[in-house]
Amino acid sequence: MLNLKSITIVLLVAASWMFFMSADHIDAPDVQSTSADITDYYAFQSTENSNNIVFAVNVQGLLSPSATSGAMFDENVLLEVNIDTNADNVEDQVIQLIPRDGKMYAFGPFAPSTTGLTSTVQSTDDPLSVDITAYGENAIVGTKDGSKLFAGPRDDPFFFDLGAYTDVLAGNATGFSDPGNDTFAGTNVLSVVIEIPKSSIGGSGSVNTWVESKRK
């Protein structure tokens, strides 16, 4: 009985930690633990080619190694990279990423026919695509017209002492511990990484960007 109670308390504490999760991992009730849950978003200049920009979108976080081989992208979930080139917080260009039959397809960047909270896939013939890399397999890279595409499991690149942060918020600690403890160590995510020429989204200056998951 005492053991059961202890276990329950531990689980409750763990659950409350999870609730405060991190970059965007399980950030809200409707998406947490679903195939549409975005965990992180990165945008950076390519280290291979400074004329290119890279967008990395991660979903379905906190995968243990044993759970990773069974994790799959959802064909009903569209991942959409939004790019605002004139600082009005409305997307001027989008990149649409969506899986079919073991491949990831990338459409764009193009000016979308509609903006906002709903989308249709504006597919084109002969798009950039790549076989989704299986767990344990070497990364498969799709290329087309100077762009590159990858989809598959990766180490979660996010690092954060979430436990200590939660303790601080709960009033159980007055500061972080040193050294800290990376809550995300040893966990995986499903990643889609796309590298495109900067010239395809304006070439210079700054853009505002965000990623959306949209469900059919």
Binding site: A23, D24, H25, D27, D30, V31, A36, D40, Y41, A43, F44, T47, E48, I53, A56, T68, V77, L78, E80, N82, N89, V90, R100, Y105, L117, T118, T120, V121, S123, A139, V141, K148, P153, R154, D155, P157, F159, A164, V168, T174, G175, F176, S177, P179, G180, N181, D182, N188, S191, G203, S204, S206, V207, N208, T209, W210, E212, S213, K214, R215
Partner: protein, 184 residues
């Protein structure tokens, strides 16, 4: 009756033999057409993010789904006030931060959750020189956010709260595409 049955039989046999011949002769035109993939339908917002940890840190539990399903263009109007309250709850002593932003300016900037990315050079959340020009894999974004929330104008306030003391990932990133490390 008999004649006509035989006639039909022969006709069917002839047709069948023709179909065999045409199969044999027309290999080139019998290649399976590439299947047309179906991307039809309307896809509706489920989750979104720009900068790291914004929904997690600044949005109250009862509005997290609302934040994920609000157009980026509408986020500022809908959430800036609540972000200001949250910032002052996290750090009651907040006056300004290392960017020189008062609470209203900082909250207003955060509430529109977009990641600004430079197409002209260094892309980093913060590298000691460049600020908010992108987000690279190795950027310690949590420390940057903690510093801006708790560190005050000089970054020296609340020293126990301005770093989580986890400064890097548990696996090295790659110098080549796809850059993220192999899974555990």
């Amino acid at each position: 009756m008999k004649f006509s049955n035989s006639y039909i039989f022969l006709a069917l046999l002839f047709a069948f033999s023709l179909s065999i011949v045409s199969c044999g002769d027309d290999d080139d035109t019998m290649v399976e057409p590439t299947p047309t993939l179906d991307f039809s339908g309307t896809y509706t917002i489920a989750d979104q993010m720009g900068r790291p940890a914004i929904n997690t840190v600044f949005v109250s539990d009862d509005r997290k789904d609302e934040f994920n399903t609000t157009s980026v263009a509408d986020m500022g109007g809908a959430f800036a006030g609540a972000f200001n309250d949250r910032l002052l709850a996290l750090n009651p002593g907040y006056t300004t931060n290392a960017l020189g932003w008062d609470a209203a300016t900082f909250s207003g900037a955060l509430a529109t959750d977009v990641l600004t990315v430079s197409l002209d050079g260094t892309t980093t959340f913060f590298d000691g020189t460049n600020v908010l020009t992108g987000r690279a894999l190795a950027d310690d974004v949590i420390d940057t956010e903690l510093l801006l929330i708790f560190g005050g104008e000089a970054g020296a306030d609340n020293p126990g709260l301005t770093s989580d003391n986890v400064d890097s990932n548990d696996k090295a990133f790659l110098n080549t595409f796809p850059y993220l490390a192999t899974p555990w």
